[in-house]
Symmetry: C2
Subunit: 243 residues, 2 copies
C-alpha cells in the first residue's frame, strides 16, 4: 500500500559527513519516510553511514546518488527547501509544520522533495530558487547549529504527524464507576471519617467537598471504588475493635 509518506523524497545536497547520511536514514525510517536522494555527497557509501543508520538499511539500500539538484528533483510535483538564514528574494516561507501540511497536500500529484543543504553552508540561493516553498525550523537564536540529520528528523516527524496524527498509544480505560457507586462510596466515607473522629458531621467544613473534587478530577473506575470501599471497611473494623 502506497501511503502519502511514500511520496516524500528527502534530498541531501553535498553532505560532508557520511555519519549524517546514516543518521538521516535512521531518522527517516523511524518516521516511515523511505526515499533518500543524495546530491554529490563527499563520501558515500561509507562505513560511518552504515553504522549510524543502525538497522535502517532499507532506506540506505534504496538511496539514489545523483550529480545535480535538478536530477534529484526530476518528476517532483513540488519541492521545499530548508533554510535557517533569511533570503532577500524568498517567495513563500513556511515553518516546518505548515510546510509538512503543504507537502502532503501536493502528494496526490506526485513526489514532493524536501531539500537540505550541506553542513557548512546550507542551500545556495540558486538551489533554493528551485524550490516553491522555503521551510524554516524554530531554533535558539543564540545557538542555531541544528545538525542536518536532526533537521531531517524534525521534518520527517512533522510529516508523520501531519499524515497519521500523533496518537501512539493511550492510557488504558477500565469500566467507570456509576454515579450510584460513587454516591455510596462518599456516604461510606462520611460515616467512616466520622467514626474515626477525623470529621465532625455537625461541622462539615470543606473536607468532603475537597475529597469529592479530588476523585472527580481523577475519574473513578469501578475497581478503584471497590478498593477504596475495602479500605474504608477495614478502618470500620479497627474503629469497632477500638470502641
Amino acid at each position: 500500500m502506497t501511503t502519502l509518506l511514500d511520496r516524500m523524497r528527502i534530498v541531501m545536497c553535498a553532505t560532508s559527513h557520511p555519519g549524517n547520511i546514516g543518521a538521516a536514514a535512521r531518522a527517516m525510517n523511524t518516521m516511515g519516510v523511505s526515499q533518500l536522494v543524495l546530491v554529490a555527497p563527499r563520501l558515500f557509501p561509507h562505513e560511518e553511514a552504515t553504522a549510524r543508520a543502525s538497522g535502517a538499511t532499507a532506506v540506505l539500500d534504496a538511496v539514489r546518488v545523483v550529480d545535480t539538484l535538478d536530477d534529484a528533483l526530476a518528476g517532483c510535483a513540488a519541492s521545499i527547501g530548508f533554510s535557517a538564514r533569511p533570503r532577500e528574494f524568498a517567495g513563500s516561507v513556511l515553518p516546518v509544520r505548515a510546510a509538512a501540511a503543504y507537502a502532503l497536500r501536493h502528494a496526490g500529484e506526485g513526489d514532493v522533495a524536501l531539500v537540505f543543504g550541506s553542513e557548512m553552508s546550507g542551500l545556495s540561493n540558486d538551489e533554493l530558487a528551485r524550490c516553491q516553498v522555503i521551510a524554516t525550523i524554530a531554533t535558539n537564536p543564540h545557538y542555531s547549529s541544528l545538525n542536518v540529520a536532526a533537521a531531517v528528523q524534525l521534518a520527517c516527524y512533522e510529516l508523520r504527524v501531519a499524515a497519521h496524527g500523533d496518537t501512539v498509544w493511550t492510557a488504558p480505560r477500565f469500566p467507570a464507576a456509576s454515579s450510584d457507586e460513587i454516591a455510596r462510596l462518599f456516604a461510606h466515607a462520611e460515616t467512616t471519617l466520622a467514626g474515626m473522629k477525623f470529621f465532625d458531621p455537625s461541622h462539615p467544613r470543606r473536607l468532603l467537598p475537597r475529597l469529592r473534587r479530588l476523585f472527580a478530577r481523577a475519574g473513578l473506575e469501578k475497581e478503584e471504588v471497590n478498593i477504596l470501599r475495602g479500605i474504608l471497611a477495614r478502618v470500620d473494623e479497627l474503629i469497632a475493635r477500638d470502641a
Copy 2:
C-alpha cells in the same frame, strides 16, 4: 532573563553511549533548553560526549550527575516520562506536542522534568510511576527505533514551538501594486498581446482571465508591475519594427 524554557529539566536515565549525551546536549542547546541531569550514566564525562555536543559546551559544563531518578526530580513541579511502549497502569498519556503544552503550563510552579530512559530498555514501570504524565512520540510502527538524542531533539523542539511559536523568518514584503497599477498593466497586456496576434480581441476566450488569475494568486508588487510593463514595452517596439 528567565524564560519558561529555563524551567525545563531534561533527565536522561542510565544512558549507555556518551555520544548520545553529547548529541542530546546539542539538541537541547539548538532549542534553548539548558538544564541536563544524568542519572547514573555509564560513561560521563567522556570525549565522545564532548565531540557530539559540537560546541554546546554551556549545556555540558552545567550537567548534573545524580545517582537516582528521585534525586533528579527533586524540586520539580511536574515530571513527564517518555515511553514508546504501552503500559498497563498508565494514567495520563499525551503525545509529545500536548505534553510540551502541559510542561509549559506547569513551569510557573517550578522546574518541569522530561525524563528519558536508557537506549536498550527505556524507562522502567517504577521510573514511569514517578511521572505525572507519560509522553509518546509518533513513529513508524515497523521501525520505531528512535535514538534517545533524537527523542530529546523532538521534545525540545515541541517545547520551543509551544513557548515561542514556530516563526523563524518570513518572506520579505515589498510595496504591493495598487488596483490602478494592475488595471493599467492588464490594459497594456491586452493591447500588446493583440498586437502580437497572440490574442484576437473579438474572440477573447480565456487568455486574459487566466493571466489575471495567475498574477492575482502571486499578489503583484509595484516593482514587478514595472518589470512586466517594461517587457511589454519592449515587445511593443518589436511589433512596431515588424509592421
